[in-house]
């Protein structure tokens, strides 16, 4: 057993740390989060140059061919600086959906472009019902003959749809499709839709976490041709689940990176801030809270690393591990970020201090791909409670 990272992975970590400290300090994060795009063409091009936009795509599609464990290393570093922009949406949602469900031709056409930074993609899955399961998909795709479909419905909480070139839209294929019983996993289909398609309207939503851009996507009779279908009609949920699992591990890693940074900021501050003639870290009310934060961070990392390995290896408990990880890390990051503000006192409550970037990212991440309550229920089901 080796529960550690390889030399190559440590090198990736060091490279990413240096790159992000230089290219994405908090001054940059703040500038970017104030723009609707959340990134700049220059920054995006640099991510492509590093190979990170295609990190987990096979080399045949212009990627680097690395695994989820490698991805975890990179995501931890991105979370550490609260990197804004459409990385998660483009690479782990849109990109992975193409990889999992797309035909050879679709993959060949789009993945190299995503890896090169020329195309951005996202996944339009969730709706106003705010569910992360198949039952949540109520948007419809009506067959209009010759394999063409018309998409209707409203998608909500769609990350970065406003800057995506392509949206992978989950919708129910109408009567006639295989096993399209309303609400079941069968009958969910995936479509590749250009953002500029007529009838598709994207509205950027104001979000608490300004580093994560969310959109409403209205589909008012969007007509798509036969080759827009990703994979088999009615069979989209299976590949989608694999996409969500990997995206969830990646998000957990990003959250671990953020939580680790909050812990560091807090212990550094506790050593220098003096109250009643002593550094505040000498007081047990502070010290013990910091120790609790460490326990949370370490456990969050342990389950995330295990899950990354389990997903890479298709281990029998991979699905269970993903839910354990998301439940654990959602709570951990929220609590650690909250404690970070508390232990900083007034300065921690200012806009100027970076802590709120982490606190807000913890909150948005908590509700992305299902919160702790959702995943604990999943765990309960998977252990046959």
């Amino acid at each position: 057993m080796n529960f550690g990272f390889s030399e190559e992975q440590e090198l990736l970590r060091a490279t990413a740390r240096k790159f992000l400290e230089n290219e994405c300090p908090s001054s940059t994060v703040r500038k970017l989060m104030d723009t609707p795009e959340g990134t700049t063409p220059e920054f995006w091009a640099k991510l492509a140059e590093q190979g990170w936009l295609g990190l987990i795509f096979p080399e045949a599609y212009g990627g680097v061919g690395l695994g989820v464990v490698d991805l975890v290393v990179l995501m931890e570093e991105m979370g550490r600086v609260v990197m804004p922009g459409p990385y998660l949406s483009t690479v782990l949602l849109g990109g992975l959906a193409l990889l999992e469900a797309g035909s050879e031709a679709q993959k060949k056409q789009w993945l190299p472009k995503i890896a090169a930074g020329e195309t951005r993609a996202t996944l339009a899955l969730t709706e106003p019902n705010a569910r992360w399961d198949a039952q949540g998909v109520t948007a419809t795709a009506a067959a209009t003959g010759g394999g063409a479909f018309t998409l209707s419905g409203t998608k909500l909480f769609v990350p970065d749809a406003h800057v995506a070139d392509l949206l992978v839209v989950a919708a129910r294929t109408g009567p006639g499709a295989v096993g399209a019983a309303a609400g079941s996993e069968d009958g969910v289909s995936l479509f590749l839709v250009p953002r500029r398609a007529p009838g598709l309207e994207v509205t950027l939503l104001p979000t608490m976490d300004q580093t994560r851009k969310l959109c409403e996507v209205k589909l008012a009779g969007v007509r798509v041709p036969a080759d827009a279908l990703l994979g088999v009609a009615g069979q989209g949920w299976r590949p989608l689940r694999r996409v969500l699992e990997r995206a969830t591990v990646a998000l957990c890693a990003e959250m671990c990176g953020g939580a680790q940074r909050v812990l560091e900021m807090t212990t550094e501050y506790a050593k220098i801030r003096i109250a009643f003639g002593k550094p505040i870290g000498a007081y047990q009310g502070v010290k013990h809270k910091a120790a609790d934060m460490l326990v949370e961070v370490e456990n969050a990392k342990s389950i995330t690393y295990y899950t990354a390995w389990a997903v890479d290896e298709n281990a029998p408990d991979a699905t269970l591990a993903v839910s354990m990880a998301k439940a654990c890390v959602s709570d951990a990051y929220r609590r650690v970020a909250g404690a970070g503000i508390q232990l900083h006192g007034g300065i921690g409550f200012t806009w100027e201090h970076d802590l709120h970037l982490y606190f807000k990212r913890a909150k948005s991440s908590e509700f992305t791909f299902g919160d702790a309550t959702h995943h604990r229920e999943r765990v309960a089901q998977l252990i046959n409670l």
Binding site: M1, K287, N299, K301, I303, W309, T373, I383
Partner: protein, 398 residues
């Protein structure tokens, strides 16, 4: 990251599993196995016999050198063994303080004679050990201990008192910390002795615990004469030696704790399946489902945090931050588990052994009460947090 077992590890696992299948003690009824903490007093003979048989089969002292009766294996095998014991709901090992603490410390500091003399009998359960650290005026602040050992020729004369000494009433030997130089700074004048509990002048008085059992004791020393060949690690060097013991305690007991936690969780789920709340199975109650799932998650997290710590050790690296968080995490999780067991039972939680209405013969009530000690024994949670804050996070001392 490579978590797939090697062929050797797989065959070791098979060996353990096969042996356990054929050798689980029959008297170890479902009743005794249902929870994490067994009233040991009920089971000393059984547990001694169980350790003997484990030892004969080669499953005690896996990481100890072969020349002293160990198997020369790694912590990896120790982890596999603990996992399999948990799956089989196997009884705990009786001489846990000997195996987990005294033995490793003797391996680290002992002379060749001492190793030959003490180690094999620890493994075979022929000599049971207890830990004589705490005193009435020295618990968390251990360095203020006052039990004296005064040199007289080739012997030391010990006077004083220990308290909360688990298993002292059934022990043959004690890891004793006593002050040999009262004039030296607190940490400098302490010596670590291997003390024969059968010597004249040693008196053991059991203390009744909140469970009603008497597992820990007061131990009085009245002119007890200890030979100087029973000093471990040098005179006035006892603090360093004693701290080594505590390091091993956290590490080695960790596997056992993990195993008991897993058994308790499986037992809790089984109990929850049978229990009803407001007319439906407890396992269908949305709130209780959340709590059970959370325990499952926390138990797994602790396992993987332990695995990360072992990876570092196997690579010969220094223990990282993950090594020190284990005990605290375990304590918090186990106490929450026992609280939940009570919550699941509802009003039945009030009934203890002796009533036909008691759930599973009141075993959970015992385990619940016993779990309160977890955050006190082996260093309180507050002290653990001080240590983590100061040594791992580098925060200033208070």
């Amino acid at each position: 990251m490579e978590l797939t077992p090697t062929p050797e590890q797989r065959s070791f696992r098979d060996e353990v599993r096969a042996w356990l299948r054929g050798n689980m003690p029959r008297q170890w009824t479902a009743r005794l196995a249902a929870s994490s903490d067994v009233p040991r007093a009920e089971a000393y003979d059984l547990l001694r016999d169980w350790q003997r048989r484990l030892h004969a089969a080669g499953f005690i002292g896996l990481t100890w050198p072969r020349e002293y009766g160990g198997r020369g294996l790694t912590f990896m095998e120790e982890m596999i063994l603990a996992e399999e014991m948990a799956l089989a709901k196997a009884p705990p090992v009786l001489n846990i303080l000997g195996i987990g603490m005294a033995g490793p410390t003797i391996i680290a500091y002992g002379t060749e004679e001492q190793k030959k003399r003490y180690l094999p009998k620890i493994l075979s359960a022929d000599e049971i050990w207890c830990q004589g650290y705490s005193e009435p005026n020295a618990g968390s602040d251990l360095a203020s201990l006052q039990t004296r050992a005064v040199r007289d020729g080739r012997e030391y004369v010990v006077d004083g008192q220990k308290v909360w000494t688990s298993l002292a009433h059934t022990s043959d030997w004690m890891m004793l910390l006593a002050r040999t130089d009262p004039d030296a700074p607190r940490h400098k004048g302490i010596t670590y002795f291997l003390l024969d509990m059968h010597l004249p002048g040693v008196t053991v008085k059991p203390l009744r615990q909140i469970t009603g059992d008497a597992e820990f004791n007061e131990v009085f020393f009245d002119g007890v004469r200890v030979h100087d060949s029973q000093v471990l690690g040098g005179v006035n060097n006892g603090w360093a030696v004693g701290m080594t013991t505590l390091m091993y305690e956290r590490l080695a007991l960790g596997f056992g704790l993990q195993m008991r936690l897993r058994i308790a969780l499986d037992g809790l789920i089984e109990m929850a399946r049978r229990a009803e709340k407001a007319g439906h199975a407890v396992t269908k109650d949305p709130v209780l489902r959340q709590k059970i799932a959370q325990l499952w998650i926390d138990t797994e997290c602790l396992k993987y945090t332990g695995a990360r710590a072992i990876t570092r050790l196997l690579k010969g690296e220094m223990p990282g931050p993950e090594a020190s968080t284990g005990k605290m995490g375990w304590v918090e999780t186990h106490q929450r588990l026992q609280e939940l067991a009570m919550e699941i039972q509802g009003p039945y939680a009030q009934l203890v052994k002796g009533s036909d209405w008691a759930v599973e013969d009141g075993l959970w009530q015992h385990a619940f009460l016993r779990s309160r000690a977890n955050s006190i024994e082996g260093g309180t949670t507050e002290i653990q947090k001080n240590i983590i804050g100061e040594r791992v996070l580098g925060l200033p001392k208070g």
